[in-house]
């Protein structure tokens, strides 16, 4: 306590003599970042909010006409857009569930003394570090119906993964599961290694079966960290663009981001796409909010 007093006094007197005060340093360090983010993230969103009430088309020089809430009304009444949301929801559920199963499963297998464990873990984490666009590209080679190694390895003949409307979304989700299961695995491993060893020892002494141990000890203690992984992956899967855009052009695999991209940059319905962007944005912010609230809750423990 005494030292704090001295340093505070000392600091303020010194700051007056030379150097900046703590408050000006704080402002100097924080304000530019906030301004940068406002100018390049928030200002554009305000700009597009304005356009979302117009019939503006960026491909023509015609002036934008104010149309009020027409774009929002049209979009929310458009079964096509709703089907894009439904496809996205299906995609999020399949890929996040798959990642949770595979990622947590592999983490359970890895959570023991294994020779070269560190190296194996790092190798398993490699897929999630790669570029989604490039991953999409080389999975096209793997999925190829005539010479792809997936059909060869599974003995599927000339099975169509990407050009079959029924299969395309599952194929994209499968690639996403390959890419992001490592993420769930990484978080699960951290959760598993934090489970106190003495709990397992106590369970063993009490002759608890493996199922009891898993459901009563392992799962409840790892659950918060798994929840973080699930919310984070849900948010990312909801935004997926690159992977699905590169892998397939099937309408049955048209996620909402792809619809948005096409509306904005292929059909040039700029005003309407700004409105759709806002609908998507509100959904993402809602998920982010849940995520951050949950993070803070976990941190408090």
């Amino acid at each position: 306590m005494a030292t704090t007093m001295i340093t505070t006094l000392d600091r303020s007197s010194r700051a007056a003599a030379r150097g900046l005060s703590d408050i000006s340093i704080r402002n100097l360090f924080i304000i530019p970042t906030i301004l940068f983010l406002i100018v390049f993230n928030i200002f554009p969103l305000i700009y597009s909010l304005g356009y979302s009430f117009t019939d503006f088309r960026a491909s023509t020089s015609a002036a934008a006409n104010f149309v009020g809430l027409q774009n929002y009304r049209d979009l929310l009444g458009d079964p096509y857009v709703w089907s894009n949301f439904a496809i996205t929801a299906k995609y999020v559920i399949i890929s996040v569930a798959g990642q949770l199963l595979v990622g947590f499963g592999v983490a359970m297998l890895l959570n023991r003394d294994i020779p070269l464990k560190g190296l194996l873990t790092t190798l398993l984490l490699l897929p999630m570090m790669l570029s989604m666009a490039v991953v999409g590209l080389f999975w096209k080679l793997l999925y190829d119906p005539s010479f792809g190694i997936i059909n060869y390895a599974l003995g599927l003949g000339t099975f169509e993964w990407l050009s079959d409307p029924k299969m395309a979304l599952y194929a994209v989700a499968l690639t996403d599961i390959w890419m992001w299961s490592p993420f769930v695995m990484l978080l699960s491993l951290a959760g598993l290694s934090a489970v106190p060893k003495h709990l397992y020892e106590a369970a063993a002494i009490d002759r608890a079966g493996p199922f009891y141990t898993f459901f009563r000890i392992t799962l409840p203690l790892v659950a918060p960290i798994l929840m973080i992984a699930v919310i984070f992956r849900t948010m990312e899967a909801f935004k997926t663009f690159d992977l699905a855009y590169i892998l397939t052009s099937q309408p049955t695999a048209e996620l909402i981001s792809i619809r948005l991209y096409k509306m904005a940059f292929q059909e040039w319905q700029t005003g309407r796409s700004c409105a759709l962007a806002y609908i998507v944005l509100i959904m993402v912010l809602a998920i982010t909010n849940i995520y951050v609230k949950y993070l803070n809750k976990v941190k408090e423990r």
């Binding site: 100097l28 983010l37 390049f40 700009y47 960026a58 297998l109 897929p127 005539s146 973080i228 700004c274």
Partner: protein, 319 residues
Amino acid sequence: MAAVRTSSEIGFNRVAIVAVLLVTIIFLAPIYWIASTAFKPRNLATTIPPTVVFQPEISPFVKLFTKRSQLRNPASPEEYAAAPWWERVVFDGGEKIVRDGKGQVQWSGYPSRFMNSLIVAITSTVLAVGMGTFTAYGFSRFRVKGEADLLFFILSTRMLPPVVVAIPMFLMYRAVGLNDSHLGLIILYTAFNLSFSVWLMKGFMDEIPKEYEEAALVDGYTRMEAFFKIVLPEAATGIAATAVFCFITAWNEYAFALIMTSRRAQTAPPFIPSQIGSGLPDWTVIAAGTFLFLLPVAIFTFLLRNHLLRGMSFGAIRK
């Protein structure tokens, strides 16, 4: 623990180890396949059954970097003998390298895209990590009004879907002539990485004991001197890890690059898939381009291995 280990547990352990090895092989197979395709002669890239054992070739990389055209007739013996080794491998594949009037080799689009990726990723990383480090220190050490809200605001900018931000940015860039420019992409990637960098660096800053600077302040350092001479060296590992994460994110980014660039400032991610084009793609060349593009990320992943958890969870989970 050892005392209560039964023989069935040891048996299960063995099964688990075998399962882990199998899973690792399955997970790495796609990456191995693209890497091996990058060294195949073209006629072995798309065979049934797939070619696993082959004589590795460097020709896909020569083809990746040069413009080529189909050979109508095989190259004449004189032409073949006069050609350097890297040109012969192209002749062997039934193609020739396009040269201009002065005999200069014509480059393909790949090297300039690769350079653009490097320029944009490195510059935006330096900016994002630089600003992020200062801001993280500010949040870590000083009382900031509404700190939780500000940090949430910073994080939320990172969560915006790229296409949502890209629509207004495209219009604004078009108005000021920043479309298809390095600067335009650098600004976007800096903004995108800045929030990540603040969050991650704040975690690292929080771990540096305040007492270090306080001791320095007592010794007559100003706050700035203490920051530069005491805090920054302590934070070096954290800064390096954050920088590698930012680099990888910018290096891998696709949606902004696809929308904002077309030629001059185009980076590798939108370019590599566009090589497929029409007709029969030469998968060896695409694989070579992919291999070179993924190589830096693979190396960085190994360097980062102890920080992956932290980085991927925005600093929320530390070991």
